[in-house]
Symmetry: C2
């Protein structure tokens, strides 16, 4: 019906008043009589008026939109994080533009440009696996866009971050295995240049050291976050001349690949080999109810990151704000998670 073309000028003309008054009324300004305000609102509804945010945003140079960059939307951790971000943003009247870098630096750079050109009020991101140079992110900040990293951050100063305590998580996971009798413990890591994997590895090392277990380099296997990497890793582990009795997987995808491979061969987790891996609410208990996992709630991280970003946007002080929030991840021990034999 109404072809979306109704403007404040149309309303103004019909009512023989000025468009600025209409604008004020529609923004519920106190400087308009209740009477005219009612009249204007009634007419606006009648005509099916819808404010054009584009025009409004241009004028105010504010978009009430946040950009979100993740490596891959369909990975459960990130989709949970996005859900948390969306809910938080929605409550505050913000929309979110979602982009995925697909782990490619070039795409990430391009996305940053697009978001910047769209004048988003802030950006939340988890860097791609390839990101080692941060120039595009520095530029974004210089242009005045607020930037908050979550989960995968950059090791550069003056950033705002929402992270989990990766060192502690790695330490706890490894120590859990040790406490359950494991002595030869492998570590499935992630892309080497990502801070989170560096820190989880450090936690692993520290736990081994604390318990006087020597680190064996051949037990530390990296991955590019594909299930097939997990399969390759577990194959390597099984082919060793000695028996590995525990695995700490720093990423869920590799753990899934490995567990599948083991299941297919009738090798039992955790009886034959114990695995503690990063995981999340939904999947962890489903993959293997007996599995002990390090839980990181994507939703919680997303929510926290969005809250932090929105608070920084609100403050609107032009000086660089940097604040890092570290969330504790918790080791969820499931029944019969202790190894039975050995």
């Amino acid at each position: 019906m109404e072809n979306n073309k109704v403007t404040i000028h149309d309303i103004a003309k019909i009512l023989s008043i000025d468009s600025s008054t209409v604008s004020r009324a529609l923004n519920n300004s106190s400087r308009v009589t209740k009477k005219t305000k009612d009249k204007i609102i009634a007419k606006a509804n009648e005509l099916g008026y819808k404010r054009n945010h584009l025009a409004s945003n241009l004028r105010k140079s504010k978009t009430f939109t946040l950009g979100v960059i993740v490596p891959r939307i369909s990975r459960h951790f990130f989709s949970s994080a996005i859900a948390g971000i969306e809910e938080t943003a929605y409550k505050k009247g913000y929309s979110v533009i979602i982009c995925q870098s697909l782990e490619q630096l070039e795409r990430e750079k391009n996305i940053v440009e697009i978001l910047s050109a769209n004048r988003v009020d802030g950006v939340l991101m988890s860097v791609s696996m390839e990101t080692e140079n941060y120039q595009h992110l520095e530029d974004l900040k210089k242009r005045g866009t607020r930037l908050v990293f979550f989960d995968r951050h950059c090791d550069i100063p003056d950033n705002s971050n929402v992270l989990i305590d990766d060192f502690q998580a790695g330490f706890d996971a490894t120590e859990h295995l040790i406490n359950n009798g494991c002595r030869i413990i492998s570590h499935f890591s992630g892309p080497k240049n990502l801070e989170i994997y560096k820190n989880r590895f450090k936690g692993y090392k520290a736990a081994l050291q604390k318990h006087g277990i020597k680190l064996r380099d051949e037990l530390v296997l990296s991955s590019s976050l594909m299930e097939k990497d997990g399969v390759e890793n577990i194959k390597k582990i099984l082919s060793l001349p000695y028996k590995v009795d525990g695995i700490f997987s720093a990423n869920d995808v590799a753990a899934i690949g490995a567990i599948q491979y083991l299941k297919e061969r009738g090798i039992k987790v955790p009886e034959d080999i114990a695995i503690v891996g990063f995981s999340n609410e939904t999947i962890s208990s489903v993959i293997e109810p007996s599995l002990t996992t390090i839980n990181q709630s994507g939703f919680e991280i997303g929510k926290t990151a969005a809250t932090l970003l929105l608070s920084q946007i609100k403050e609107n002080s032009s000086d660089i704000i940097n604040e890092t929030i570290i969330l504790k991840s918790s080791l969820i021990e499931r029944k019969s998670s202790a190894r039975q034999n050995n």
Copy 2:
């Protein structure tokens, strides 16, 4: 450094030319000398000029943005669909704004308004569980916004849809169970007013009928798509005075809940009770490698839906286009999926 404030006028002033020429050059118009074009582009880069899409969009009344509305981002099917949408949109130079209705009609209505106010060029959506009245969607279309439903659609004429063949999927799943010796087959359905669940149920009924099996009402259990519903359902099934030997679950969440419950009690799938459920690439094989599933690729649906929407946007003919694409879902039979005993 550059405070994001550089406009085409700044460039024009410095170069002593008109801003319209700058605009043309930056849009790579053929009506500008290569020489001046180069000069302009060089200066633009030097100053760190970034086009303001807001202004450009306002002028062109086109945003190169798609709105996406899903019930819940973190559900794997939807996050895969979003990934497919994002990739397709990105390739064509479109951005996507993601919103979740959280299965609430009120939220859905509000989101439609927001997207409309942001002048998105088109909307892709899967309706919420509560959506029985479609006025807000009719309005959106009337205002000239292209609308494509994917997966969860509305049973109203003149819509564009990308769906899976729900009837066939329900039929195949049920027949698979029958062919594997099941005679007493339960059906876990979803919210009753959603078309997809109606159609899957029809498929179930048809398969039973074809094989001369009587439909028992008490074996048909609906759900609100929560894992706990799956648990409740399986409890009911187990408490029946006779033995149910197969379950066709029309939604993955209920199936997951049920499988977890069974696993905890040492009841084996599919040996003790066979389950065929909707699922997706990643999860299906992980939950239970022996499980046969009906696979619906969210990514594929998202991609197809986005392609359809973008083609409709491009055509730009003002008359209502409606086209329905039905994707086949495939029954993935995994090893040892046939029931062993009974």
